[in-house]
């Protein structure tokens, strides 16, 4: 991992289009400002990992048969037809 030391108001550039600026720092937190093309998703790491985990848990498996969707909506078709 590349390690760089920065002070408040100093920046890091990643490629041509991404700039990360240290806005504030204290003993326990760092506030960063990120300029990146709007289409590039930017997430806090722990939130991104949680979404990754939940998405994987959401995959349909042998356990998640579609019959388990039954009984939630009144509109479902009568499967005995």
């Amino acid at each position: 991992m590349l390690v760089l030391t920065r002070k408040p108001d100093e920046c890091i550039r990643i490629g041509k289009k991404i700039k990360i600026k240290v806005l504030e720092s204290s003993s326990s937190t760092v506030k960063l400002g990120i300029d990146a093309p709007e289409k590039i998703p930017v997430h806090r790491e722990e939130i991104y990992k949680k979404i990754q985990r939940e998405n994987k848990e959401s995959l349909i498996s042998e356990e998640t048969t579609k019959e388990k969707l039954g009984g939630i909506f009144d509109s479902e078709k009568d499967n005995n037809d």
Binding site: E38, K39, I40, P41, H43, I47, Y48, I51, Q52, R53, E54, N55, K56, E57, S58, L59, I60, E63, T64, K66, K68, L69, G70, I72, F73, D74, S75, E76, K77, N79
Partner: protein, 149 residues
């Protein structure tokens, strides 16, 4: 957000026909499936209005999703402008919002994370999964509690 439609779970199921069976490009994939960028929405005929959201190239990457219009929080969803801009929306009618469902292994009931919807541009056939910072949205809500009566 304009074009709010209240949909009760007792009413005729709403399947957004214009969305179904079309290929949607998720440029950055989904968290956990970053290399899968093309997905389709397919109606689950036996259990409307549930929808199958699946990868075009790997059918094992598939999930149940449900239109956000069925959820109590629908009117409170506040999609950031930056996220709407990414979808190149010209009209709010083009916006579709779906929640991913996951089975709680203990209770065997479906849950949804209301903070992490899929948002799509129905016209341009592009989409993203976003994270909503709203404090009023539950991260783990049972479907039976989350749906409108």
């Amino acid at each position: 957000m304009a074009n709010k439609v209240n949909v009760s779970k007792k009413e005729e199921p709403l399947i957004d026909e214009g969305v179904m069976n079309e290929v949607y490009n998720f440029q950055y994939g989904l968290p956990g499936f970053e290399y899968f960028t093309e997905f389709t929405f397919e109606p689950i005929e036996e259990y409307p209005p549930f929808v199958l959201f699946k990868s075009v190239v790997d059918e094992n990457i598939s999930m149940y999703v449900l239109n956000a219009k069925y959820f109590q929080v629908y009117d409170e969803l506040d999609i950031p402008k930056a996220e709407l801009d990414k979808l190149e929306l010209k009209d709010s009618k083009e916006l579709g919002i779906y929640f991913i469902l996951r089975l709680d292994k203990v209770s065997q009931n479906f849950m949804a994370n209301l903070k992490t919807p899929l948002i799509i541009n129905k016209d341009k056939k592009i989409g993203n999964q976003i994270f909503l910072e709203q404090d009023n949205l539950e991260k783990n809500m049972y479907l039976n509690d989350a749906l409108k009566e």
